[in-house]
């Protein structure tokens, strides 16, 4: 392995080993599964994430991918099967959407507690009822307190790259926590884009074999996993899991640095993408594919003389509050766009706005924070919507009090 790494390092330029394919976000993650040589994959249908499993099925039947591909009878089983496979040393992949993800909630709860480095795709979808296929972030966000690493991507290239990074980080012994790659339903899962597909050789150099070490469940290592600990030990065990999450940011930074070194693609700050922020007075903050209308609107607003920028949150867990506070403290006001709801939350805001306010609390000169809820159930966040939000944030920057949370694009 070490030899392979060394030989790859001297080969330049990186782009020569990459093929370009026109694929969807879901297909990009299926390609990542193949490149990562995943051992066990479990599928269960729910739109929109299930397209990834349709692509995986084709890769398996065509012989391009060697894995145990198991069609489960529910999401709960889907996640439990790969959880146990991962405990036996298998690299695993799973996924779901909306209420499917919620049906697996018990399995999602125990996976980080067992220090299982599962990688899952969430095709973000509105929760029932009433039914909607479109994107809302409440599904993935529901596990935010449990030890899942949560990352949002906004294009197919980033989906593929981030899935590879997700295995690398999750399977790092310092972490050993699951990671969910969130892809907005339809806008990303079903939208095609040109994606550079890295070579198998480089992926091998980037992604070492998953080594379960002394936690491996095997007759040669007869351990008892997850006995009843009760009040006697539970708190110490929780603390170990918490410490793993606290180590995760550093492991993520290392992974992105290695990713750039091996693949030649640079993501800058892994946790937060900044767009047109250098001279911005105010910024919008959001996650996922709403970055597209936001960036278009910002280009138009800048042509009109408004100094507006955008900060896209990639990693929601771990939430690197220090970095975000440092970034946001440069601006006069911040507008947080939530594609989720958190009923009864402080100031009636969404989940992200509450986190951003928390992150900003220790900052001496805090920017004003305005919260927006937009694009629920897959409703399009339009350029005029973004401009409306930006205008409100600019007013807040001028000291004109704004409602703490505004629902955008809502019929009265």
């Amino acid at each position: 392995m070490a030899q392979t790494t060394a030989s790859v390092e001297v080969q330049k330029p990186h782009a020569q080993q990459e093929e370009t394919s026109l694929i969807t976000g879901s297909e990009a993650i299926a390609v990542a599964c193949k490149l990562a040589d995943v051992d066990v994959i479990t599928a269960y249908p729910i739109r929109p994430y299930d397209t990834v499993m349709q692509y995986v099925a084709k890769l398996v039947s065509s012989g391009e991918m060697d894995c145990e591909y198991i069609v489960a009878e529910s999401e709960h089983s889907q996640f439990e099967i790969v959880k146990h496979a991962c405990a036996c040393g298998a690299r695993v992949f799973c996924g779901s959407s909306g209420v499917g993800w919620m049906y697996a909630f018990e399995a999602l709860t125990v996976t980080p507690a067992l220090r299982i480095p599962m990688v899952a795709m969430v095709g973000n979808r509105a929760l029932d009822d009433p039914g909607a296929f479109g994107v809302e972030h409440n599904d993935a966000l529901a596990v935010r307190d449990l030890g899942w690493q949560l990352v949002w991507v906004d294009n197919a290239q980033e989906a593929l790259d981030t899935a590879l990074i997700a295995w690398r980080v999750a399977e790092d012994r310092r972490v050993f926590l699951p990671c969910a790659v969130s892809c907005d339903g339809a806008f990303l899962t079903h939208s095609q884009a040109l994606v550079k597909v890295p070579s198998q050789e480089r992926v091998k150099a980037f992604l070492p074999r998953y080594d379960r070490g002394d936690l491996l469940l095997h007759p040669d290592n007869p351990i008892t996993v997850a006995p009843q600990a009760n009040e006697d030990w539970l708190m110490e065990i929780r603390r170990q899991t918490a410490a793993a999450m606290e180590r995760s940011p550093q492991v993520i930074r290392e992974a992105y640095a290695d990713f750039e070194r091996i693949f030649g693609r640079r993501y800058g700050n892994p946790f937060f993408e900044e767009y047109e922020t250098a001279d911005a007075d105010v910024v919008l903050v959001g996650m996922g594919t709403l970055s597209t209308p936001v960036k278009v609107a910002i280009r138009q607003l800048r042509a009109e003389g408004h100094k507006v920028g955008f900060v896209r949150v990639r990693w929601f867990r771990p939430f690197v509050a220090e970095d975000l506070a440092r970034i946001l403290s440069r601006f006069k006001a911040v507008g947080v766009i939530d594609r989720d709801f958190s009923l009864g939350a402080p100031y009636a805001s969404g989940v992200l706005a509450t986190e951003v306010r928390t992150a900003l609390y220790p900052v001496a000169k805090r920017p004003e924070v305005v919260a927006f809820i937009a694009g629920l159930g897959g409703r399009e966040v339009t350029v005029p919507d973004v401009k409306k939000m930006a205008a409100s944030v600019e007013l807040a920057a001028e000291g004109k009090t704004q409602p703490p949370t505004q629902w955008i694009g809502l019929r009265e």
Partner: protein, 350 residues
């Protein structure tokens, strides 16, 4: 007469690794002395389920992975720092025995195929209680029994209630039993009026490619252990349903566990059988009863020994007996398949 397994044109797509070859034990004196489930657990006195664990893994041997779903055999058996398991053991969720066995078997298979671990047959046993199996986990168990590619055994230890959470009724609790969710009262003497699920029969009949389903009773331990060995050797996913007398849940003196296990079989309430490649074989005393060598004892002999039926009137005993008689005399396959043929003209269509 053992029938040949039917060859299917699709068998080329089923890739099953060779399982361990575990020959039957030829009597109690031939059992190995090695224990793989030892001290450290804190089950109740007279707990038959703990005996099931001990004998199950003794039958399986050291190259075995055991997955245990939530229930007595998790809560009482695996305390941090004092595990009783000598073989590798992992907890799984209440409804996950099927998924745990499947995931573990799938990992072993693919990792061996890819050369990531040594190629060798490793037994995979996932156990569940009646709550985890007959109630919550039924869907996952059913799914797993349809996967022909993986070697694993699901063993349901049935003590007929959610016994570690204070004895609440499950889908496997017998009619009329006093549980903390079905306490007899002045108005409702019989709070639990549902009949016990026919779990082994349902799984055998409903999963035609599952090669082995058996019922066992640890009062007949060598027979039970040999069922475990056959289930692990035959190939593919298999299921065993064990009836386990429970002093706490059934309310009797712990010294009577073994007797109650025998009485369950002798009264015909618990038929012992195996379904191997679609062939039904009655076992032990059940076979003797079916063939007229032993007379079936009144079910009252079994029920009266247990406090959970202390509120039964003669009418209740008679009803219970009539249901057992029906099982033996009217079912298409006594004790296994509860259909009646139309020819019998039992209830002609209106």
């Amino acid at each position: 007469v053992k029938e040949e397994t039917m060859a299917t044109p699709f068998s080329q797509f089923v890739h099953l690794d060779a399982p361990q070859k575990l020959d039957p034990f030829k009597g109690v004196k031939k059992l190995p002395l090695e224990e793989y489930f030892t001290s450290g657990h804190r089950t109740c006195q007279g707990c038959e389920s703990a005996l099931v664990m001990k004998m199950m893994v003794k039958a399986a041997g050291p190259r075995t992975i055991v997955l245990g779903s939530t229930g007595c055999m998790y809560v009482a058996n695996t305390t941090y720092y004092s595990t009783s398991w000598v073989v590798p053991w992992m907890h799984t969720q209440l409804g996950s025995s099927g998924s745990a066995g499947l995931g573990t078997a799938a990992a072993l298979k693919v990792l061996m195929r890819k050369g990531k671990i040594k190629q060798e047959p490793i037994n995979v046993i996932a156990f569940c209680g009646d709550g985890g199996g007959a109630d919550m986990g039924l869907s996952a168990i059913s799914a797993t029994l349809t996967h022909p590619d993986y070697n694993l055994l699901i063993l349901m230890y049935d003590n007929e209630s959610y016994a570690n959470t204070d004895i609440q009724l499950s889908g496997s609790t017998p009619y009329g039993a006093n549980t903390t969710f079905s306490t007899p009262g002045k108005v409702k003497r019989i709070m639990h009026h549902r009949w016990k699920k026919n779990m082994a029969g349902m799984l055998a009949a409903g999963h035609p490619t599952c090669r082995y389903v058996a019922t066992v009773d640890m009062s007949y331990s060598v027979m039970a252990m040999n069922c475990v060995r056959k289930a692990l050797s035959i190939g593919g996913p298999t299921f065993i349903h064990s009836l386990d007398p429970c002093p706490k849940g059934w309310d009797y003196d712990p010294m009577q566990s073994h007797d109650l296990g025998e009485l369950a079989v002798l009264t015909g309430i618990w038929p012992l059988y195996e379904v191997e490649d679609g062939v039904l074989r009655l076992l032990g005393k059940t076979k003797d009863i079916a063939q007229g060598r032993t007379k079936r004892r009144p079910v009252k002999d079994f029920l009266l020994r247990q406090g959970r039926f202390a509120h039964f009137t003669e009418e209740d005993f008679a009803y219970f007996q009539s249901k057992i008689d029906e099982m033996w005399e009217r079912w298409l396959i006594p004790g296994v398949i509860p259909f009646r043929t139309e020819l019998e003209k039992d209830q002609p269509p209106a």
